[in-house]
C-alpha cells in the first residue's frame, strides 16, 4: 500500500469514527428515554398527578411537586425577568465603554459560571437566615432568580444587539428620546429573541434541584402551597427523593415523575426553538 492510499484509508476511518461520535450521545439518550418510558409510563394516571405524597409507593402522587414547580416558575419569572431585561438594556443601549461596564461584563460571565449549589448557599444565608424567610417558596424563587439572571441578561443583550443601528437612528431623527427609542422601537423589534432567552432560562430553573435542597425545600410536603410563604417541594427534588430509596416501587414512581419533568422541559425548549425559528424567518433587516 502506498503512503497516499494509507492516508486516504485513515481519512475514511476517521469519517466513520466521526459519525459514530456524533450519534453515540444521541443513541445513549434514546436508550435512556425508552428505558424511562417503559419503566414509568404505566404508573402515570390521573391519581398519580393529583395525589399527595405518601410513604406508600403505590399511593404516592406528584400533586405537590408539580404545583411547587409551577409556583417556582412563575415567581422566578416575575423576579428575574424585569431585572435581567433591564440590566441587558442598560449594558447594550446605555453603558459606555468604560472600565466599569467592562467589569460588569466579566462579572456577569463569571456569575453564569458559578455552580448552582453555590447559589443555594447564598440563598440559605441571605434569604433563609438573614431575611428569616425559612425554606419557603419565596426564598426558593429568589435563589433561582439569581441563578437565571445571567442567562436572561446575556440573551437580552444578544437580542438587542441584532436590532440594526438604522432603526435607532430613524427614531432619534424623528425626535424620540433615548428611552422612547428603546421602548417603542428596540424592545418590540427584539421581543422574540428576548422571549426565547427567557424561556430557556425558565427551562434551566425547572430542572434545578441542588440549590433548592440547600435552602431547605423539603421532599415531603403533604399540602399544595397556597401562597409564596408556604413550604414547598419541586419535581426534581421529589425525583431525587424517590431515586434514593431502595424499594423498586419508588424507582417506578421516579421514572413516572421524570416523564412529567421531561415533558415540561421539552415543551419549554420546543417553544423557544419555535420562537427563534419564526423570528429568523420573519425578520429580514
Amino acid at each position: 500500500m502506498t503512503n497516499s492510499e494509507k492516508n486516504r484509508l485513515k481519512d475514511k476511518a476517521f469519517q466513520v469514527f466521526g459519525v459514530f461520535c456524533t450519534f453515540i450521545g444521541l443513541v445513549v439518550l434514546a436508550i435512556f428515554l425508552i428505558d424511562i418510558v417503559i419503566e414509568g409510563v404505566a404508573r402515570i394516571d390521573w391519581d398519580f398527578l393529583t395525589s399527595l405524597p405518601s410513604r406508600r409507593a403505590a399511593r404516592a402522587g406528584i400533586l405537590t411537586a408539580w404545583a411547587g414547580t409551577l409556583w417556582i416558575l412563575v415567581l422566578s419569572a416575575i423576579i428575574a425577568f424585569p431585572l435581567g431585561i433591564a440590566a441587558g438594556i442598560y449594558l447594550e443601549e446605555y453603558a459606555k465603554k468604560t472600565k466599569l461596564s467592562n467589569f460588569l461584563e466579566i462579572n456577569i460571565a463569571n456569575l453564569a459560571g458559578v455552580p448552582s449549589i453555590i447559589y443555594g448557599l447564598l440563598g440559605l444565608e441571605l434569604f433563609v437566615r438573614i431575611m428569616n424567610l425559612g425554606g419557603i417558596l419565596l426564598a426558593g424563587a429568589l435563589t433561582l432568580s439569581l441563578l437565571i439572571l445571567p442567562i436572561v441578561i446575556v440573551t437580552t443583550r444578544e437580542a438587542i444587539k441584532a436590532v440594526p443601528r438604522t432603526i435607532r437612528d430613524g427614531s432619534f431623527a424623528l425626535g424620540a428620546s433615548k428611552w422612547q427609542t428603546v421602548w417603542h422601537q428596540v424592545l418590540p423589534a427584539s421581543f422574540g429573541g428576548i422571549l426565547t432567552g427567557v424561556i430557556l432560562a425558565l427551562s434551566r430553573a425547572v430542572g434545578e434541584a441542588a440549590p433548592l435542597i440547600v435552602i431547605g425545600a423539603l421532599a415531603y410536603v403533604p399540602f399544595v402551597p397556597r401562597s409564596p410563604m408556604d413550604e414547598f417541594t419541586v419535581l426534581p427534588i421529589q425525583i431525587f427523593n424517590w431515586t434514593s430509596r431502595p424499594q423498586a416501587a419508588f424507582l417506578t414512581n421516579a421514572a413516572a415523575a421524570i416523564i412529567i419533568l421531561l415533558l415540561i422541559t421539552f415543551l419549554l425548549n420546543g417553544i423557544a426553538v419555535y420562537l427563534r425559528h419564526r423570528q429568523q424567518k420573519k425578520i429580514k433587516w
Binding site: F14, N107, L111, L149, T243
Partner: protein, 291 residues
C-alpha cells in the same frame, strides 16, 4: 421629560449593578462562614488531614477526600466528553454537509437541556447495572458511571464551543493545506485543530468547571462516602454531594457542622472561579489572532 429619562436610566443602571451585588454577596457569605469555620479548625488541618468526618463523633476535617472525589468524577467526565466532543466538532466542520450540521446541532443541544437529576437516575439505574455486568467488583455507587454520564451531558458544551473555534479559522488555511495535497484528516489535525487550539482549550476549561460544580448526578450515583482514593469502582463523595448531604439532614444553624458546608462551598467556588477566569484570559489573549 429630561428627569424621567434620567430616572429610567438610573433604574436600568441599578438592575445591572445588582449583578455586582450578587457576586459580592456570594463571596461575603462564603467568606464570613468560612472564617468562623477556620477559627475552630486550622487551615493546616483542613488541607492535610486525610479524612472528612465532620458528622461523626470523632471529627476529622480534611477536605482532600472530597477534592479527590470531585477530581475523579471530573477526570472521567472529561475523558469521555473531550474525545467525543472534539471529534464531533472536527467531523461537523471538515466532513459533514451543511444541512446535516444544521439538523444535528440542535439535537446535540438536547443533551444539555435534560435536568441533571434525570441523568443521575440514568447513571444509577441503567449505567451502573450495565457496567456491573462486565466489571466485577463495581459498587452500586461509584465514580465511574457518574463520571461517564456527566461526560455525556457535557459533550455538547465541548462540541459546540470547539466547533465555533474551528470554524473561526480562516478558510485560506484549510485551502492551503488541501493545495499541498493533504487529506481532510491531515488538514484537520495538522492545521485546523492547532490553529483553533486556544478556543478548544477554552471549551475544555469551561467543561471542567461545569463538571466540578455538577451536583445531582454525583449525589445520586457516586455515593456519600468521602474517601481519599482514585479508584473509580468504589463509592466516593464530591464537594457538592457533601453540601447536599448536610442540607438534607437537620444541622442546626451556627454549629460547626453547618459551617463545614460553607468551607466546602468556598473550596468549590475558588476552583470554578479560577477555571472560569483562566478561560476568559485565554479567550482574550488569543482570540483575534487571525483578524
Amino acid at each position: 421629560m429630561r428627569v424621567q429619562e434620567k430616572i429610567i436610566e438610573g433604574l436600568l443602571w441599578l438592575s445591572a449593578a445588582i449583578t455586582i451585588l450578587i457576586t459580592v454577596s456570594i463571596i461575603w457569605v462564603l467568606l464570613s462562614e468560612s472564617v468562623k469555620f477556620f477559627s475552630e479548625v486550622s487551615i493546616v488541618r483542613f488541607l492535610t488531614e486525610k479524612e472528612w468526618t465532620p458528622l461523626f463523633a470523632e471529627k476529622k476535617f480534611g477536605i482532600m477526600p472530597l477534592v479527590a472525589g470531585t477530581f475523579l468524577t471530573t477526570v472521567i467526565a472529561i475523558a469521555v466528553a473531550l474525545p467525543i466532543g472534539l471529534t464531533i466538532a472536527i467531523y461537523l466542520n471538515e466532513y459533514a454537509h451543511a444541512r446535516f450540521k444544521t439538523f444535528i446541532k440542535p439535537l446535540l443541544e438536547v443533551l444539555a437541556t435534560i435536568p441533571t437529576v434525570v441523568y443521575g437516575f440514568f447513571a444509577l439505574t441503567v449505567v451502573t447495572p450495565f457496567l456491573q455486568s462486565f466489571i466485577p467488583g463495581l459498587a452500586g455507587f461509584n465514580a465511574l458511571s457518574a463520571g461517564i454520564v456527566m461526560g455525556i451531558m457535557i459533550i455538547p458544551m465541548i462540541s459546540s464551543l470547539s466547533e465555533d473555534a474551528i470554524s473561526a479559522v480562516p478558510r485560506s488555511l484549510r485551502e492551503a493545506a488541501y493545495g499541498m495535497g493533504s487529506t481532510r484528516l491531515q488538514t484537520a489535525f495538522g492545521v485546523m485543530v492547532p490553529a483553533a487550539s486556544s478556543g478548544i482549550l477554552v471549551s475544555v476549561i469551561l467543561a471542567i468547571s461545569r463538571a466540578v460544580g455538577e451536583t445531582m448526578i454525583v449525589a445520586i450515583a457516586a455515593g456519600q462516602q468521602p474517601r481519599l482514593t482514585l479508584n473509580p469502582l468504589v463509592p466516593i463523595e464530591t464537594i457538592t454531594t457533601y453540601i447536599v448531604q448536610v442540607s438534607l439532614g437537620d444541622v442546626p444553624h451556627g454549629s460547626l457542622e453547618y459551617r463545614t458546608i460553607f468551607a466546602a462551598g468556598m473550596t468549590l467556588f475558588v476552583f470554578t472561579f479560577l477555571l472560569n477566569n483562566l478561560s476568559f484570559w485565554i479567550k482574550k489573549k488569543y482570540q483575534e489572532k487571525y483578524d
